[in-house]
């Protein structure tokens, strides 16, 4: 019937995929550098000197680096959460409230546990509480989407406000230390800081939640690219009709994707609560959800890319502090916006150019 051609692996499709994945962030970086130059010049400073200062203050010393790692940890969680949803074709904008709910859950559990609970057990229980709290917040839009077709973008945004108000009511009305908007310190489940292991990190907030973030990133990668559920989830995100044809329940995948997106963001709450302050404080999650979208976008929805992007955005944020004496740190807020905008515009454009070029060579 056939001459039995031997399969080969020589043709490398990876190059094209890598181009499509990497060009947009690189373009964005270039655009951001140019914008940064202009902002620095508007302040009458030398871009080269400011950028050197930025690098010294972030990657150049252990404290700065520790702060970058701390900030990157939270962003990694919210970025992974957003990218997990996007892989199923769903946009989770509720990262902020899921993160806050997770932190709140961890704090409640940390308060409920008796002093002297074994560390590993306490951590595990607190982490589960964080994930559950985030998952509950994520399950609401998931249910409304599958059951009523309510668009997840709007529902997650609206839910942000509702959940944050609810948490604020809990804290302000019931659980706060007088004169503050935070809970008492937790009794159990405190995550060791990096400074406990390497004293050079002294003073920085970086803690072992970083390891959890890397583990979660690995778990997400494994699920997406090695597990059957991930195969099905990505199929739904790419071509829902083909997934349906392949016997995959699109609704069930949506439910799973958004709920677990919430779980991932929720676990992120431990970075601040268990690792840094040891209490839940109103507003600690502020802005982390939106930045998570940026991180997912720049990281091209790949867990490894998300980790790198989280590190990048954390560097911007910490770098702002490092250069503040010369150029206001608010410059970094501008650059964040510029980077997202540039990537968002470059992604479809690069795809069109690459595919267009390929299409022509086919003809």
């Amino acid at each position: 019937m056939t001459e039995g051609v031997q399969p080969t692996f020589t043709a490398a499709p990876w190059r094209e995929r890598a181009q499509e994945a990497l060009i947009p962030p690189l373009v964005a970086l270039l655009v951001a550098l140019i914008c940064g130059d202009l902002l620095i010049l508007s302040y009458g400073q030398s871009p080269a000197a400011v950028y050197r200062l930025l690098l010294e203050g972030t990657w150049g010393n252990a404290y700065g680096f520790g702060q970058v790692l701390y900030k990157a940890t939270t962003l990694a969680f919210t970025g992974l959460a957003v990218s997990f949803g996007l892989r199923a074709g769903l946009f989770n904008i509720g990262g902020e409230s899921q993160l806050a709910a997770g932190g709140f859950g961890a704090a409640l559990m940390g308060l409920a546990l008796p002093v002297g609970t074994p560390l590993i057990l306490a951590l595990l229980v607190c982490m589960i509480a964080a994930g559950l709290a985030g998952g509950v917040v994520g399950a609401v839009p998931a249910y409304l989407k599958t059951r009523f077709g309510a668009h997840e973008v709007i529902v997650t945004i609206m839910l942000n406000f509702i959940v944050l108000a609810l948490l604020n009511w809990f804290i302000a009305g019931h659980l706060h230390v007088p004169e503050t908007l935070h809970t008492p310190e937790i009794h159990a489940g405190v995550l060791p800081r990096l400074a406990d292991i390497d004293p050079r990190f002294h003073g920085s907030a970086a803690n072992l939640a970083l390891i959890v973030a890397v583990l979660v990133a690995f778990a997400v990668w494994f699920y997406l690219f090695r597990a059957r559920g991930g195969y099905e989830l990505r199929a739904v995100g790419l071509q829902p009709q083909a997934a349906e044809y392949g016997g995959i329940s699109v609704g069930r995948v949506w439910m799973r994707a958004l709920t677990f997106s919430g779980v991932i963001a929720g676990i992120g709450g431990i970075n601040y609560v268990l690792g840094y302050k040891h209490y839940y404080e109103d507003g600690f999650a502020s802005g982390a959800g939106f930045l998570g979208i940026a991180v997912a976008l720049v990281g091209r929805n790949h867990p490894l890319g998300v980790l790198v992007a989280a590190f990048f955005f954390a560097t911007l944020s910490q770098g702002g502090l490092a250069i503040h004496a010369f150029v206001p740190k608010q410059m970094m807020d501008v650059l964040q916006g510029v980077v997202i905008l540039a990537v968002a515009m470059a992604v479809p454009e690069v795809r069109r150019i690459l595919r267009g070029a390929r299409g022509r060579s086919d003809a």
Partner: protein
């Protein structure tokens, strides 16, 4: 034309018949690797109804989009009333009196009839205010003049399909169109609505308007047109006077392609294995499927396919074949009736459960349904059977790869690279991925929908051989194809679908293209009980 603000279409009336209303010559148009038109030429004289016929994908719609200014040709030129208008814009085309009635209605459902009609050329009062009263008045006037009766204040979303089409025709007339192009206008109409449409078109022609009718229904062509242009695979193959031809000849010109069927089934009359159980195979009882507008797209259809048998379903596309296959596969809800696979009722079962019960499915639309284009060939080869390639929720990549290597070589998928994205393969090889996946596993019933559409001749023969081999192994196969000769060559029995029903069912040995053709176009009606 009183209603329309643009009256430049006037020129069409004054023309002598020597100058064609439309002359398109040597038109080339490609989309990526697909060449929709290659050197296509069409000539339409003023005051005639001209039928442009051809199979799906023959390039008819693309040609008319070029005429309407929605696309620009890669090569060739376009003349309207003797004026070279190659590469003009939509607005220029409208101003010159070209009106296109698209296959998918170009009407805004949330707006009223009058609002849709004036969109883009709105009457105004006091400079900025939309003069809705005048719009409605103009619509009413045009409506009475043309006999296309419709109330201007009704919302499009409240209209029936026939009424919506009336609005479409009014819309182009409102803009002063004297050359009307109708793209598959009857695909969604009921028989009385079709008759009404013919009356309107004849009246417009008698008034001196030029009409181009894009269709693949031969009965319509014969009934309404004066002249016919036949297209095949992007090229013009014939231009004939309707009075000088027959439906059979048009059909032959349309299909045209010679497919080698030397490995035909007649070599092995009945490869049926010994004694299949009477309830084995696929069975449908009184199946009714309701479409989006509440119409029965499958209207009380019953049939069975036995092991070792191919039941071929012929018919002009759009008569319910797509819905039938989707209902059988579990992708479309069934309103009433039963579906049985190997005697087990599967009517309410999921896609996955039917799959497990031994149903394989080669879908009609491989790019949208059959493949995940961004996935690798290897990953596409496990779509639908992913659970058999995983252990405790983890995909067994070694087995996925082994499976891919085996299927690639036994189904000759090229290039033979399991990690290439399916997107990068040619149409024929993409189809082979699907055939390999659906037929390379254990199954008892196969739904094969347009299995050879858009694939090269070599792949066609290969796929035909696969179907015949499966039949010989005792599989029950339901084959749906727009290619009449394919159905005839492969099937044991053939049925013709016409407007949601089986118009006829007979042994393939007794069938011929001529006989089936008459059932397909509805000139002959029978009962397929």
């Amino acid at each position: 034309m009183t209603g329309g603000p643009a009256s430049t279409g006037e020129s069409a009336r004054g023309q002598t018949s020597a100058v064609p209303a439309i002359r398109m010559e040597g038109i080339d148009k490609s989309f990526g690797a697909i060449r929709a038109n290659r050197g296509t030429s069409v000539e339409v004289m003023p005051g005639e109804i001209h039928a442009l016929v051809g199979e799906n994908g023959a390039g008819k719609s693309t040609l008319m989009r070029i005429l309407g200014g929605l696309m620009k040709p890669d090569a060739g030129h376009v003349e309207v009333n003797g004026r070279d208008v190659t590469g003009w814009s939509t607005n220029e085309a409208i101003a010159a009196g070209i009106g296109i009635v698209h296959q998918h209605f170009m009407l805004v459902p949330t707006l009223t009839v009058a609002e849709n009609l004036v969109l883009g050329c709105e009457p105004k009062t006091r400079g900025i205010v939309l003069d809705y009263k005048r719009a409605a008045e103009d619509v009413r006037k045009l409506s009475t003049e043309t006999g296309l009766v419709i109330a201007p204040d009704r919302l499009i979303s409240d209209l029936s399909v026939g009424e919506a089409q009336r609005v479409e025709i009014l819309k182009v007339l409102f803009r002063g169109a004297r050359i009307l192009v109708l793209d598959e206008p009857t695909a969604v109409l009921s028989p009385p609505e079709v008759r009404e449409l013919w009356t309107v078109l004849r009246r417009l022609r008698d008034k001196g308007d030029t009409i181009v009718l894009i269709t693949h229904r031969l009965d319509e062509v014969v009934e309404i047109s004066n002249t016919i242009t036949v297209m095949r695979a992007g090229q013009t193959v014939a231009r004939v006077k309707t009075s000088e031809t027959t439906p059979a000849e048009i059909a032959r010109l349309m299909v045209g392609r010679e497919v080698s069927l030397s490995a035909g089934k007649r070599v092995q009359p009945s490869g049926r294995p010994a004694g299949p159980q009477p309830d084995q195979g696929l069975e449908a009882r009184n199946l009714i499927v309701v479409g989006s507008r509440g119409i029965r797209v499958i209207d009380d259809v019953s049939f069975s396919v036995k092991p070792g048998e191919i039941l071929g379903i012929a018919g002009v596309e759009g008569n319910g074949q797509t819905e039938l296959i989707e209902a059988l596969a579990g992708l479309r809800p069934v309103f009433a009736g039963d579906i049985l696979i190997d005697g087990v009722d599967m009517t309410r079962r999921s896609v996955a459960q039917r799959h497990d019960a031994g149903l394989s499915h080669i879908p009609e639309d491989r790019q949208r349904r059959g493949l995940i284009l961004e996935y690798t060939v290897a990953n596409n080869l496990i779509l639908g059977v992913q659970k058999y390639f995983s252990r405790r929720g983890i995909i067994d990549r070694t087995r996925v790869m082994e499976n891919a290597i085996q299927e690639i070589s036994s189904f000759d998928i090229r290039p033979p690279n399991p990690v290439l994205a399916a997107r990068a393969l040619s149409g024929g090889n993409q189809q082979k991925i699907i055939v390999a996946r659906e037929m390379g596993r254990e199954f008892s019933v196969l739904l094969a929908s347009q299995p050879t559409r858009g694939v090269d001749v070599g792949a066609i023969e290969f796929i035909h051989q696969q179907l015949l081999d499966a039949r010989a192994q005792g599989k029950a196969i339901l084959l749906v194809s727009a290619e009449l000769n394919e159905v005839l060559a492969l099937s044991d029995r053939v049925a013709v679908m016409y407007r949601g029903k089986f118009a006829v069912m007979m042994p393939a040995a007794e069938a011929s293209e001529e006989v089936l053709g008459e059932y397909m176009i509805g000139t002959k009606k029978g009962n397929a009980a």
